[in-house]
Amino acid sequence: MKRRTRNLLLNWRIILLTLFLVGSVATLAFKPLTYGIDISGGVALVAQTEHPVDSDTMQLVVSSLQKRLNTLGLRDITVEAQGDQIVLIKVANVSTAEEANQIKSVIESQGVFYMEFTGTVFGTGEDVEYVGIYQIKSDNSWAVPFRISKAAAEKFAELAYGKKGWPVDMFLDPPVDSLMVVPDSVYRLMNSTDFNAEAPDAPTLMERVGKAFNVTVVAYANQSADEIAKLAEGKDKIVLVDVPQDLQTQLEGMNLTVRYVPRAPGESDHSLVVRVLGLYGPYSLGEGLTVGEPQQDVQITGTAPDRMTAEQEASTIYTVLKSGSLPVKLNVVGMEFISPRLGENFRTQALYAGLAALIAVLLIVYFHYRNWRIAVPIASTSLFEVVIILGFASLINWNLDLPSIAGIIAAIGTGVDQQIVITDELLSGEKTTRITRRASVLRRMGRAFFVIFASAATTIAAMSFLLVYFVGTLKGFAFTTILGVLIGILVTRPAYAEIAKYLLGED
């Protein structure tokens, strides 16, 4: 008896299980688990790029999105690309639905960024290589330093030669390739020198956007929808600004893409134009940049009446430059918000449900065999398995979300099944002599492990497709299932077989 016990404890399978258990408990003690948004609370957003992009572009999207959200002062953000079109954004510690919606609009307002001068686009978001921290001086003037690519700098130097004080415009998501229908006063404003910085002889804003973005502006003078549609021929879309809204319905009825922009209460013509075009600036061109020398390190400067306004202006342009490095437009296509308090509920509930399921397994197994020496090892092996899976998850910082928990349940379920297979094979032996019994135990264990390996292999094969190819939440499910099955066949199942052999006197 003593030797049997020692043999069991010194069996490498038992030692391996012990090592894994101790390691997992230690890991969990020092490195708490991180939970998914659906458990801990927060907002999860799925954004889709306008069109499929290559992996370099995707990487760029991810890093600039991360930067942009960081500049908003949000913490616990993960941004993850999946496939060639989907970006998953998770922000923890978001406590209200309004806050969640704000994050959504921030991601969606991520436009495509252009730098334009005299009607020529000399750089896009891709050309912004670095944005420095903005400075605010005591006279309430501010400066945002940034670096543009060599190509953009060279193009700009050529364009800007000798044009001191001319307007430099930046646009975030302008209505490219469109027909803009605006009230007469707005038309006149856009066609004036109001947006020309300090250079009255520079082209007007209307000329600049016309040349740079193929935007045609027309004044609204009671044209019919048909007339407008005719003017818009060949254009991508129609932007209706502060004109009667029934035009929108009529034009949309003709299968045209229409964006309707109403005037906000009390909004001036100037700010309406700025808003519709996504215009930042115009900034007056400093003398240093007009000598024909390409300069990559540039800055945008301005003055404001007070420090707060200066801060606001500087931080706006800072954020725009940062986010502007987004090479493609994103749409939020899915969003889930869970309040943190509810998340906590879910977590305790998942814990209770798990424990209750484990107790159910214990009782049902006991009911079947009427033997605690089978029921207790089976239930505790399952518990060990959960601990080891969780230890692994915390080790590699896996975010435990609901699908991951479902995966753990799946792994435990098949685990119990496999332990029952082992137990039944052990129990089914005939009472014969020791030697033939030993041979028959080996044979029956071989059969049990054939079943176990075959079912583990099918599960892993089925799930690995999910893990590699698919987007969205099923990944977590696949990951924990595979992890659980692997731990099962490599660590816990062999150990259980030894324990069962020992307890059932078959070693």
């Binding site: 799925v46 969003m335 379920g413 297979v421 075959a454 099918t458 499910f477």
Partner: protein, 304 residues
């Protein structure tokens, strides 16, 4: 603790197993033609059910808005009327209760602002906990395609592995067919009980592949690799093991379903329960029937 080795085997277990075998004996006495026929009829019925009453797609697969309020006890019909009137869109309201909380779910069409719904609800129920989610139809479509692809690929992968393990056409095909039938029946039952097809329930269907193949592999292995047992003996021993496996899993899932208030976990649990029930028939009746018929041909391992 110390027992002489020759008596080490627990005798209580033997008695229990004997009883269980007796109880399940009716399965062994069934004629294999019937064993094959009945499950096939059920499979066909499931297919017909699927054709006339396919489960509805959840919002994560077709797009829409859901607002969930926990800690509310409200009349769903009245609430739906109020909300529809105030929002100007048709909404559907469902109430749910669980062990420690109750609440409502508001389903609204794509484009509805969830914060508006919450604002209206907050007016009457300021203390409820709110969560919301919205999915655009475009993403729903992607999720749909991915879900279908996931199921197809996982199924094919399972089929290939089963073939590799058994290298025997008839037993392998039977395992694969019974997994297919399990899934079909589970989905048909989802339609019958009004459970939506969502990413989570697709995950559950994927899980089914793992669970159901287990018992089939067990049965096939026992019958094909039996050495000195008779066919019926091997079958009964497999059934008794399988019965233990299924009831344990079913029990655990039932507990999970009762205790959890998370819709995701609830739905996963119930779909698995459906599938496991279907699997009980497909493994121990259909698969066993086919194997009995297959093995009763003396050339393939002999009959008694």
């Amino acid at each position: 603790m110390s027992k002489p080795k020759s008596k080490a085997k627990p005798t209580a277990g033997d008695a229990v197993r004997a009883r269980k075998r007796k109880k399940l004996g009716f399965l062994a006495e069934m004629e294999y033609k019937k064993m094959i026929l009945y499950p096939l009829v059920v499979f066909l019925v499931a297919l017909i059910l699927l054709a006339v009453n396919f489960p509805t797609l959840g919002i994560d697969l077709q797009g829409g808005v859901v607002v969930t309020a926990y800690g509310i006890d409200a009349n769903p019909d009245e609430l739906a009327k109020t909300l529809s009137a105030q929002l100007g869109v048709d909404v559907r309201v469902e109430s749910f209760t669980s062990v420690d909380t109750s609440g409502i779910r508001v389903y609204a069409p794509v484009g509805t602002d969830p914060t508006e719904i919450i604002k209206i609800l907050k007016h009457d129920y300021p203390n409820a906990e709110y969560t919301h989610s919205e999915v655009q139809p475009t993403f729903g479509k992607i999720a749909q395609q991915q879900g279908i692809r996931a199921l197809v690929f996982a199924f094919l992968a399972m089929a290939v592995v089963v073939f590799l393990f058994f290298r025997n056409l008839v037993p392998s095909m039977t395992i694969i067919f019974s997994a297919l039938s399990d899934m079909a029946i589970a989905v048909a039952l989802m339609g019958l009980f009004g459970i939506e097809l969502t990413t989570a329930t697709i995950a559950a269907l994927l899980m089914l592949i793992g669970y159901t193949v287990d018992s089939n592999i067990l049965l096939t292995t026992k019958l094909l690799r039996r050495k000195d047992d008779t066919l019926d003996e091997a079958y009964l021993s497999a059934v008794s093991t399988g019965f233990t496996m299924s009831t344990t899993t079913l029990g655990a899932l039932l507990v999970l379903w009762i205790i959890s208030t998370s819709q995701t976990i609830d739905n996963i649990a119930i779909v698995l329960i459906f599938g496991l029930l279907a699997d009980f028939m497909n493994t121990w009746v259909l698969n066993a029937g086919v194997l009995k018929w297959y093995l009763s041909n003396p050339a393939r391992g002999g009959s008694e």
